[in-house]
């Protein structure tokens, strides 16, 4: 394809028109339009849930859009999978590393399309290494194709992934479109520089779509930036003409504050400290210190990789080798097991409801009494009547819509499942701290509102709540204070009293 330096807009390599994808309860893509032109780096930014990952998945055939079209070099395609996407020249470097660790670099680069590297069913290792070297040379990587992949550093592996995607060229006779999904999230600053140098080199022979939570990086590397919100493109900007603050405004949007957060129910937090964390250190968290007061909701804001997920898992004792001083009502808590955390009065509502929150093959009753079976036991036996009474009480108190306590929880709606998970912790009189990891993820508006109401009630009853939100808006509306994390460290802590919530832009600035 011709090198284009002129002012006329060249025909797009990739054109997305009206792309729509609905998941149960969520409209992930809502008529998205965008295009990628030859030899440019297109930046994509958006909050969690803005539709970035669904878009990328659709572009490599891992999600089937419900409506709209994807055209590659003017031809509409219905992508059936990664292999098909690769055959038309679209390749993706996945956010989570997608190299097999126990095989060589050359094998990873050529995986599934060894070409001349395998003849007559036999691997020709020398040829494999040469072919892989061609790809590595394209990005100037010094990694040996014969090295075992798990002997490389993360940055080196990221390069190998790019080389792997570049190998597409050999198969399509066209210049490929390379999708980079959060390629910098695990890299150090100097590694990012190296990657950027490679991306600029890559632009000579491909088009690049660059997705990142880090706005400064997107502005630095991209030729054009699309801002996504709620499944659509809300702005297309030229990085030379905007600054990070403009982007923050675009990201957050203007419509906000609904009554469904039950703002009026926010009560003053008490003075005494419930939880005090000093120098918490774990993989992804670097010397994090903060306090939560009795009856307070502390929101934790941060992008993916900020360390906030690790923080809440560590507080629940679910991360090995977490260190630091954690005091609950002045008493030390050991972070060595979830069991210890439960005994100390800490509850945890995980973000992955279906795999970590509920056991879907078990009944509502069993799921509800799971963490405090002791409360319904008489001696070593579970007392059926007591359990039954307890479950009935909570089902009616929280308005859980279920035919009976014996119904399989998997058959309930997400909102009702989540209420069972919340009830699991609320049945304990000793609950002192509840950690909520994306408690409203995947819930519809009505269910969300009910969950918010429960959180308000809990806080009013004196329980301290640590809240990781899906959106910044939610964190602001629900919290008394918002802790902002970035790259494993606390970068800000803002007061968010009722009626005087801080400006989301300020938080966004501390996040990215």
């Amino acid at each position: 394809m011709d090198d284009d330096t002129g002012t006329s807009t060249p025909a797009p390599v990739l054109a997305v028109r009206g792309l729509t994808k609905r998941y149960p309860g969520v409209l992930a893509l809502d008529g998205m339009d965008l295009e990628v032109r030859p030899h440019e780096v297109v930046g994509l930014i958006g909050e969690n849930g803005a539709g970035k990952s669904t878009l990328l998945k659709s572009l490599v055939g891992l999600a089937r859009p419900d409506a709209g079209s994807i055209a590659v070099r003017g031809e509409t395609v219905r992508l059936r999978g990664v292999a098909h996407a690769a055959s038309v020249g679209i390749g993706m470097v996945f956010q989570e590393q997608s190299l097999v660790p126990n095989i060589t670099v050359a094998e990873n680069i050529m995986l599934g399309s060894e070409g001349a590297g395998v003849r007559g069913g036999l691997f020709r290792w020398k040829r494999m290494a040469e072919l892989a070297q061609v790809q590595l040379d394209k990005i100037g990587s010094a990694v040996s194709p014969r090295a075992r992949t798990d002997s490389l550093t993360f940055a080196q592996r990221q390069m190998v992934e790019v080389a792997k995607v570049l190998a597409l060229e050999e198969r399509t006779a066209h210049e490929p479109v390379v999708l980079l999904d959060e390629p910098t999230s695990v890299l150090e600053r100097d590694e990012v520089e190296t990657l950027f140098a490679q991306v600029r080199r890559l632009r000579e022979r491909a088009s690049v779509v660059f997705v990142s939570h880090r706005l400064d990086e997107v502005l630095e590397i991209s030729d054009r930036v699309y801002v996504l919100r709620n499944g659509r493109v809300v702005a297309e900007v030229n990085p030379a003409e905007v600054d990070a603050t403009d982007l923050h405004h675009l990201l957050i949007g203007r419509e906000s504050t609904h009554s469904h957060y039950h703002d009026d129910a926010q009560q003053e937090a008490a003075g005494e400290v419930r939880l005090s964390v000093r120098d918490l250190q774990t993989a992804g968290c670097d010397k994090v210190s903060f306090e939560i007061h009795v009856g307070e909701v502390l929101g934790v804001a941060g992008v993916q990789g900020s360390g906030r997920e690790e923080l809440c898992r560590a507080l629940f004792g679910a991360v090995p080798r977490a260190r630091g001083q954690v005091l609950l009502d002045g008493k030390r808590v050991k972070l060595d097991s979830p069991r210890g955390a439960v005994l100390a009065g800490i509850g945890y509502v995980p973000s992955e409801r279906r795999t970590e929150g509920v056991v879907s093959a078990m009944s509502v009753k069993e799921n509800l009494s799971m963490a405090h079976v002791g409360a319904v036991c008489r001696g070593p036996m579970i007392d059926g009547r007591r359990e039954h009474d307890l479950v009935d009480k909570w089902v009616s108190r929280l308005g859980i819509r279920t035919p009976s306590g014996d119904t399989r929880i998997g058959t309930l709606s997400g909102g009702n499942q989540q209420k069972v998970v919340l009830a699991r912790w609320m049945i304990s009189d000793h609950l002192r701290l509840l950690i909520l990891d994306h408690p409203t993820r995947g819930l519809d508006v009505g269910a969300k509102s009910e969950v918010y109401e429960l959180i308000r009630e809990l806080a009013a009853s004196g329980c301290a709540v640590l809240l990781l939100s899906d959106t910044l808006e939610e964190a602001l509306a629900m919290s008394h204070r918002v802790l902002v994390m970035k790259d494993g460290q606390v970068t800000a802590c803002l007061d968010a009293p009722r009626g005087a919530k801080p400006d989301p832009v300020a938080i966004m600035e501390a996040m990215v």
Binding site: V82, A83, A86, F94, S98, L99, V100, P101, N102, I103, E107, L111, G112, S113, E114, G121, L122, F123, R148, D150, S151, L152, T153, F154, V186, E188, D279, Q281, A283, G284, C285, D286, K287, G307, R321, R323, G324, Q325, K331, R332, V333, K334, L335, G340, V342, L343, A344, G345, A371, H372, G374, A375, C377, S428, D429, H430, L431, R432, D487, G488
Partner: protein
């Protein structure tokens, strides 16, 4: 008993108090990378652990084997004779072939319990295809070839059932074993076929350079297995699938196909193993494979093949085979009761697995 909220234990101090400003201690002795920020070096460090674990495990197996040899050699003069070496190799022959086969399945991260049934069916088949006391067949080597093919079919069937119907391999292969025993029992039909094929019987009896023909066939089979693992797609992809099945699938490889093929390769080796057992026994026996599934898995694991897949290989499994055989041989020569011997083997396999997963125990998550 109500779950008490207050921990009564006196507040024990958190062990390594983090020192402000001090460099983070590397995660478990692997940190030779310069300490940048503590948080981000943790990830590459983890990869390094698994890399090291591979090498450490192979050396650990070799050292364990060395220790066994030294101990037995010190206790028993009989142990340190050339004759005993030939005996050990001969005794290891069948297990070596079976362990080679099962390695391909274990590399996938799958399990294969079909061995007793497949061996039973194949043993009966070969004894009825070569010259025997029951019928007029005299297919000779062709019969051996057909039997190996039958083994491969069994393996392929296990693989296809597991991948197409999405049944755990644990279950399909257990069922396949029962099917194999059933077929073997039908073939047995009440009277045991005695092998009259001189060439086949010679596998166990005739020697070249003091080694039985069977030992040499086993060595050739192991070499073939190693070549398959190193140079063919099924071998390489088996390891890759064990290392990251999703990734392999996302690269456009038909994972189901190569899984089934890996089971097929394993089955072919079981077929050969059945022929060897039959040659040794001199007749077709339904229970020829009893207990060999446990022995083969044990051997592979002792050699450093990880049951969760992706780690180990044919040569590593051979370390395990020799170690197990030396153990059995040494226990006999040093006069340990045969009743105790089996228990000793059991203890050793549990220890071997514990040692193998030790470096990666934090990452294993839920163990089922």
């Amino acid at each position: 008993m109500a779950a008490d909220a207050t921990p009564h234990a006196p507040p024990r101090s958190l062990e390594p108090a983090p020192l402000a400003g001090a460099p983070a201690p590397g995660a478990g002795g692997d940190g030779d990378k310069g300490n940048g920020t503590a948080a981000s070096t943790a990830l590459p460090g983890r990869a390094r652990v698994s890399r090291n674990a591979d090498v450490v495990q192979t050396w650990a197996s070799l050292i364990a084997l060395g220790v066994l040899v030294v101990v037995f050699a010190a206790i028993s003069p009989q142990f340190r004779t050339l004759g005993n070496l030939q005996q050990i190799i001969d005794a290891a022959a069948v297990l070596a072939v079976l362990a080679t086969g099962i390695t391909f399945v274990l590399l996938l991260g799958a399990i294969d319990l079909s061995l007793p049934g497949v061996i039973g069916a194949c043993a009966m088949t070969v004894s009825l295809l070569v010259a025997n006391s029951r019928n007029d067949n005299d297919l000779g080597l062709l019969g051996v070839g057909l039997t190996i093919g039958l083994g491969a079919m069994f393996g392929l069937l296990s693989g296809v059932l597991s991948t197409r119907l999405r049944i755990p391999t644990f279950m399909t292969t257990l069922g396949m074993s029962a099917i194999g025993i059933g077929i073997a029992t039908i073939l047995f039909g009440g009277s045991r076929p005695v092998v009259l094929d001189e060439n086949l019987n010679a596998w166990a009896t005739s020697r070249i350079g003091g080694f039985t023909l069977m030992s040499l066939i086993a060595v050739a089979a192991v070499a073939t297995g190693w070549a398959i693992q190193r140079w063919t797609r099924v071998g390489r992809y088996a390891a890759a699938i064990g290392g990251g099945e999703d990734i392999v699938a996302l690269s456009g490889v038909s994972v189901a196909r190569y899984k089934a093929l890996a089971f097929g390769v394993a089955g072919a080796f079981y077929g050969l193993g059945a022929v060897m057992v039959t040659a040794r026994l001199g007749s077709g026996v339904v229970e020829a494979g009893a207990g060999l599934d446990f022995a083969a898995i044990t051997a592979a694991v002792i050699g450093g093949t990880l049951l969760s897949g992706g780690r180990g290989g044919v040569l590593q499994s051979m370390i395990g085979v020799v170690a197990l055989t030396v153990l059995a041989n040494g226990l006999i020569l040093t006069g340990v009761s045969p009743y105790v011997q089996q228990a000793v083997q059991g203890v050793i396999v549990v220890l071997a697995v514990a040692v193998a997963v030790w470096p990666v125990r934090h990452r294993l998550g839920v163990v089922k």
